[in-house]
């Protein structure tokens, strides 16, 4: 048994804003449908560099009939490969 080291780190999302542009809830929190922030309610990034709760943007995209624009910049929403 060698030396062991138990480190501790906290993580948070890297986002250019504090709140989700759709639900206005904090990114550190979760979307209104979820109870717990973190892995169960992840963030997603679009190629236009806007960030939303995954649940929020999915709901938004489903509600759009024809094309699917980013709610912030109206460009076509394209998932940015994570």
């Amino acid at each position: 048994m060698g030396n062991s080291w138990t480190g501790v780190a906290t993580w948070k999302w890297i986002a250019n804003d504090d709140n989700c542009g759709i639900c206005r809830m904090a990114f550190d929190g979760c979307c209104p449908d979820c109870k717990l922030p973190g892995d169960d309610c992840p963030l997603v990034w679009g190629q236009c560099s806007h960030v939303f709760h995954m649940h929020c943007i999915v709901k938004w995209l489903q509600s759009q009939s024809t094309n699917s624009p980013c709610p912030m910049c109206r460009q076509e929403w394209k998932w940015k490969a994570g």
Binding site: M1, G2, N3, S4, W5, T6, G7, V8, A9, T10, W11, K12, W13, I14, A15, D28, G29, K35, L36, P37, G38, D39, P42, L43, W45, V51, G82
Partner: protein, 657 residues
């Protein structure tokens, strides 16, 4: 008389039976006897007086001829003059005797002695009833005794002795007391009142702590639990689990616990912490489980939840049925008060849980989880969701660390350090201040490798290391490399110790530059290493506190009987600073809630007077607030232009859209 009847039997049977106007020989005999002998005033009084004297003598403890008493009394009742001639006088005499005795003894004797005496008296009278008195006398006699020995002295007895009996936990006397009192009108009611008063008084002594003596606060919860146990026992053993007693007990507990705001909730959280920390060392799993249940009972009092609900429901039903309720609004506001004070408990519990999880000090994850599920039942899922998230983090971290180690195998210096990382989701955990320290290059590199590994798996995240929370196991060699030890220390302690790998002696400022640990923290760290129980470095000069000018030397001659040694970081008087910040955080949260409530109310009402706004706030807010605090929040909202004062009437507010 029997002889006479026998001789005239034929006459009796044939003639007398047919003539209803003539009494039978037996009855006539009795009649004549009554008329000529007993009804003679002198004879009657002498007989009755004689009887009473005999009974009085017996009551005073002398032996008397019970047979004589019995036949005399039989005679009286056969002659149908028992009631008129004897009973009344007898009861009068009894009353006289016991009034005097009650008055005298209740003053003279200890309460327990007195109760025993009363019990004895009652037993004697019962015996008397069985042996020679007429059964019809039972009710008035016993009533008379109880009345004069007990009922008239109820208050006095209770005030004089109940506290003492309860203090000394004298179960048998208390049982007797409640038995005796249950016969007497209002006895139990008074007993219950006094009992409740006792609980309140004693409880208040436990809870209220005007000087904020930390020592006393620490023992408070244990004392509460003990006290509760004792009272429960008394109720079960002595008061036959009487529901009314249980209710008044609950009421009293609630009243005294809530006399001090917030602090009891905090202390209970701390107590749970200490128990879960010690865990299996002090108690078996079952005992721990039981203890947690008990704590939850006390915890419940703090919200006044179940007691309150029990009474509230009952009264509400009554009010609604009789149509007496003030208003539906008022009722609703009462309901919201059920949730008072919970947030304080949560904040402290969370902080301590975090510490236990990170240091791996928890008794067992199972115990923690069972505590959590209990809280969940008590306060609903929303209350515990963050706490559950903390557990989830720990499990995820385990998986990640495992995957990390597997990925490392066969890759660079994999054998040198065994790294485990606990990754915390920031939202669940208490906020930790960001601290920067200088890690040795090897550790730094290792840390970077992990970071890359983690971010590779979870994109879009930022990782912040928390050096104050980590801990390490170090291998050390003393006595010129002869004695090998493993030392379990915090990361900060590690950093200091690692410096001594290259140097034997270092000054305080050397260490500070090398580690980058901030002064106060560094002093505490060095103190734990050089002035604690296991001293792996020497402080020069010796002393208890670390000064800027001190220097430190590696303790090569270090000795310890164990191979694995744990050196505790000296706990920052967690107490004041951290404690204040936890409380502070709760209050800050509350401020936001106040703000939100004000805006919510103003948004619906548009215009509202100060008084109405305040009363509406009291209705909506679920925690205790004072109106000066509310005023401050309103001021601040006016400043931030959420609302404005009316130009003419300073007591009127308008909502600003």
């Amino acid at each position: 008389m029997i002889m006479i009847r026998s001789i005239f039997l034929f006459l009796d049977r044939t003639y007398v039976l047919q003539n209803s106007s003539i009494l039978s020989i037996w009855d006539m005999g009795l009649d004549l006897f009554r008329q000529h002998i007993i009804s003679d005033k002198v004879v009657e009084t002498r007989t009755v007086d004689g009887l009473l004297k005999l009974i009085e003598r017996e009551r005073n403890g002398e032996a008397v001829n019970r047979q004589l008493l019995k036949s005399l009394l039989r005679m009286l009742s056969d002659l149908n003059i028992y009631q008129t001639a004897f009973e009344k006088k007898f009861l009068d005499a009894t009353e006289l005797l016991y009034t005097a005795e009650g008055k005298r003894l209740v003053q003279e004797r200890e309460v327990s002695e007195y109760l025993l005496h009363v019990d004895k008296r009652l037993a004697e009278e019962n015996e008397r009833l069985l042996l020679y008195l007429d059964q019809s006398t039972r009710k008035p006699l016993i009533l008379c005794v109880e009345k004069h020995l007990l009922e008239n002295h109820l208050k006095y007895i209770l005030q004089k002795g109940l506290d003492q009996l309860l203090d000394e936990n004298r179960i048998s006397e208390l049982t007797l007391l409640s038995n005796l009192f249950s016969h007497v009108k209002d006895g139990l009611k008074l007993l219950r009142q006094e009992f409740a008063a006792y609980i309140k008084k004693t409880g208040r002594l436990i809870v209220v702590n005007p000087s904020n003596d930390a020592e006393k606060d620490r023992d408070m919860v244990q004392q509460l639990l003990d006290f509760k146990d004792k009272i429960d026992n008394v109720i079960a053993e002595c008061f036959g689990k009487n529901e009314k007693f249980i209710n008044s007990m609950k009421e009293s507990f609630e009243s005294f616990i809530n006399q001090r705001q917030n602090k009891p909730a905090e202390l209970i959280a701390k107590y749970v912490d200490s128990k879960l920390r010690a865990g299996n060392k002090e108690a078996t799993e079952e005992e721990l489980e039981k203890l947690l249940d008990k704590i939850l009972v006390i915890f419940r009092f703090i919200h006044g939840k179940d007691v309150f609900e029990a009474f509230y429901k009952k009264d509400l039903a009554k009010r609604l049925l009789v149509g007496k309720s003030a208003s539906v609004d008022a009722e609703k506001s009462m309901l919201s008060k059920l949730k008072q004070g919970k947030d304080v408990f949560e904040a402290f519990y969370k902080k301590d849980l975090a510490k236990r999880l990170l240091v791996g000090k928890s008794a067992s994850v199972d115990a923690e989880k069972s505590m959590l599920s209990k809280l969940k039942q008590e306060c609903g899922a929303a209350f515990t969701s963050k706490l559950e998230g903390m557990f989830k983090d720990m499990e995820l971290s385990k998986d990640i660390s495992l995957a990390f180690r597997q990925g490392l195998q066969g890759f660079q210096h994999s054998d040198s350090i065994d790294l485990t990382v606990n990754i915390l989701t920031q939202g669940y955990w208490p906020a930790y201040p960001v601290v920067e320290v200088h890690l040795p290059s090897e550790m730094l590199r290792f840390q970077e490798v992990f970071k890359k590994f983690y971010l590779g798996k979870h994109s879009g995240r930022k990782l912040q290391w928390q050096p104050t929370l980590g801990h390490c196991v170090l291998k050390a060699e003393f006595n010129n490399f002869k004695a090998r030890k493993e030392i379990q220390v915090s990361l900060l302690q590690t950093l200091c110790l690692l410096l001594f790998n290259d140097m034997d002696e270092l000054s305080f400022s050397d260490i500070r530059t090398a580690t980058g640990i901030e002064d106060v923290e560094l002093k505490r760290t060095l103190q734990s290493l050089a002035c604690g129980k296991a001293r792996v470095i020497y402080k020069i000069p010796k002393g208890k506190d670390v000064e800027d000018t001190d220097s430190f030397r590696f303790a090569d001659d270090f000795k310890h009987k164990l191979y694995r040694i744990k050196i505790n970081q000296i706990q920052m008087k967690e107490t004041q600073e951290e404690n204040a910040s936890t409380t502070e955080r709760v209050f800050q949260d509350r401020q936001y809630q106040v703000d939100a409530a004000v805006v919510r109310i103003m948004k619906t009402r548009k215009t509202l007077s100060h008084v109405l706004l305040i009363s509406e706030l009291f209705n909506q807010l679920k925690f205790p607030v004072k109106s000066p605090d509310l005023k401050k929040r309103i001021e601040s909202l006016i400043e931030r232009e959420y609302m404005e004062r009316d130009k003419d009437n300073p007591n009127l507010y308008h909502y600003v859209a």
